[in-house]
């Protein structure tokens, strides 16, 4: 693979920040976009822009065709059995809220257990907390071990017949831990629990096949996988989707509306009320085309190399505490802590050297408490990053240590 050529597909990377070449190590928060995706948006707005569905004029036909073609691409990309199992959302957060407010509100009652883990993003905690308040369901969580993995003994005891829903993150955005999704889904299925997989950090980083993984729901964000902001996807198994009542009411999701009541369309349209983010959806399709052209296996391998190298090199910085798995596979990110500098000071220091990282709780406050840190600094990678950039990061960490101590 010519990774340098691929890097040049990303115009944003070609700039200086504070007199240094930009080193963008914040892709876990949001990825950059290749020119192909940016151009798809411009092209859509310059040639084809119109509202989709229910129109017969040329622009609307073109927009509708591109829109529904993107749904097929997403279905194929995540291995869904049918494109009707793909619902477009604003992102991971909206997808989880949709499931909580439809499937969850319909199926959970007092005493049922919602199981999650101690490493969930707020997006995979708060919606279930709100749902538990509403239904009387009980919240339980699988604790995280010191090495950043889930406690197997707790899985044995907690993942039992009381559990109606098991929601867990595929790749932790704060630890880099890759959870054994296939095994966990199988075990959940064995006790009759429905599974929701938070794929925010895995979709676009690993090849994904929902049928092989065996999850019932998968949620992800386009903006973290080269697509525009504001678009994402929810995969749901049709058997579940077709029994779910609508969430948002409005245009496009109805079969018939009377002044006193209405009937609803089949999935996925039942769950897509109102004018969708048409350009965003088409841009997501273009991002998938782009990722597939690079190759998901290639991307995964490159990601893994970067994070492996980063962990190795960063371990040499004195006093550093790297969270998450210390060896073996990890997602393409490394979060770490120093006693001598607060994450925000470190991020500020790095920024003045052109390096973009994120410091703080990364929307995983309970995990920060678990590891007794006020927050961490996180360097996260994607296939457009290079070994050189990691070297540069390590250099800057050394300099920061000298400066702050």
């Amino acid at each position: 693979m010519d990774w340098h050529r691929i890097r040049s597909d990303f115009p944003v990377l070609d700039q200086q920040v504070h007199g240094h070449p930009l080193v963008y190590l914040d892709s876990a928060a949001s990825s950059q976009k290749p020119r192909a995706v940016i151009n798809t948006l411009s092209h859509y707005y310059e040639r084809d822009n119109a509202n989709v569905h229910r129109a017969l004029h040329e622009l609307s036909n073109r927009a509708t065709e591109a829109f529904e073609a993107a749904r097929k691409k997403v279905a194929r990309f995540v291995g869904a059995a049918s494109e009707d199992e793909i619902i477009f959302t604003r992102g991971t957060t909206e997808g989880i809220n949709l499931v909580a407010n439809t499937w969850g509100a319909q199926n959970l009652k007092a005493g049922d257990v919602i199981l999650y883990t101690g490493m969930e993003h707020h997006s995979n905690l708060v919606p279930w907390q709100l749902l538990a308040q509403r239904t009387g369901a009980t919240l339980k969580h699988i604790p995280v071990l010191d090495d950043g993995t889930l406690d197997p003994a707790s899985i044995d005891t907690l993942l039992n017949e009381q559990v109606k829903l098991f929601a867990f993150v595929h790749i932790s955005n704060s630890l880099g831990t890759i959870n054994p999704a296939k095994e966990l889904c199988a075990r959940a299925k064995a006790v009759g629990a429905v599974t929701l997989l938070d794929g925010a950090q895995s979709v676009g980083h690993l090849p994904i096949d929902v049928q092989d993984l065996g999850c019932d729901f998968l949620v992800f964000s386009g903006h973290k996988m080269c697509a525009p902001t504001g678009i994402g996807g929810l995969y749901g198994r049709m058997e579940l989707l077709e029994r779910m009542l609508p969430w948002h009411g409005g245009g496009e999701m109805i079969a018939e509306v009377r002044l006193d009541g209405s009937t609803y369309k089949q999935p996925p349209h039942r769950f897509e009320a109102g004018t969708p983010d048409i350009a965003g959806v088409i841009g997501l399709g273009a991002a998938i085309d782009y990722l597939e052209a690079v190759g998901m296996e290639n991307i995964h391998r490159h990601d893994a190399n970067l994070s492996h190298y980063a962990v190795q090199q960063m371990r040499e910085v004195p006093d550093i505490r790297i969270l998450g798995p210390q060896s073996g596979p990890r997602g393409s990110l490394v979060a770490f802590h120093f006693d001598w500098a607060h994450p925000h000071d470190l991020v500020e220091f790095a920024n003045s050297h052109g390096i973009a990282m994120r410091g703080g709780h990364h929307c995983t406050m309970p995990l920060m408490k678990r590891f007794k840190v006020p927050g961490t600094t996180r360097a996260s990678f994607y296939f457009y990053n290079t070994i050189d950039e990691i070297n540069r990061l390590v250099e800057v960490l050394h300099a920061a240590r000298k400066f702050f101590t």
Binding site: D345, P374, F404
Partner: protein
């Protein structure tokens, strides 16, 4: 590795020293005024305890907190400067300090701020203004119930 002037100005030695060795760190025993401040967007937190004399003078104050060097140093330096000052003096020092860190006009009495003036490097880092102001807002809250 060369450091930018802005960064050196932001993290001057005095500031780093206050953040590493905060003065007036700890709690006051009740009865006293207390307020908690935080910046939810970045997670910085502070608690201030404050004893007011009958004459409206801040007789003693202490703080505990966690957060970046700027927020902790600002808190530490503030406690030194407003101890012994009246409520009103503290309020005008707060306004002067705000002007300095935001670059929003000249302070009325720069001398009263003493080494707090060193935090003017924050001007170049607008995202950090709320760090510098955190402890001040907590004191305001404790004094005014705001």
């Amino acid at each position: 590795m060369p450091l930018s002037d802005e960064l050196r100005d932001l993290y001057q030695q005095v500031i780093l020293d206050h953040s590493r060795n905060p003065r007036n760190h700890g709690e006051l025993p009740p009865p006293c005024l207390h307020a908690h401040g935080d910046n939810p967007s970045c997670g910085d937190e502070i608690d201030v305890w404050l004893r007011l004399g009958d004459n409206g003078v801040i007789e003693d104050l202490k703080f505990k907190g966690q957060g970046c060097a700027i927020s902790q140093a600002s808190a530490s330096m503030m406690t030194q400067k407003i101890k012994g000052k009246s409520k009103d003096q503290a309020a005008s020092m707060r306004e002067d300090f705000r002007r300095i860190v935001m670059g929003d006009g000249a302070p009325q009495d720069e001398d009263a701020l003493g080494e707090l003036v060193l935090l003017e490097g924050v001007q170049k880092f607008p995202q950090r203004v709320k760090c510098a102001m955190l402890a001040w807002r907590a004191v305001e809250q404790a004094l005014e119930g705001k």
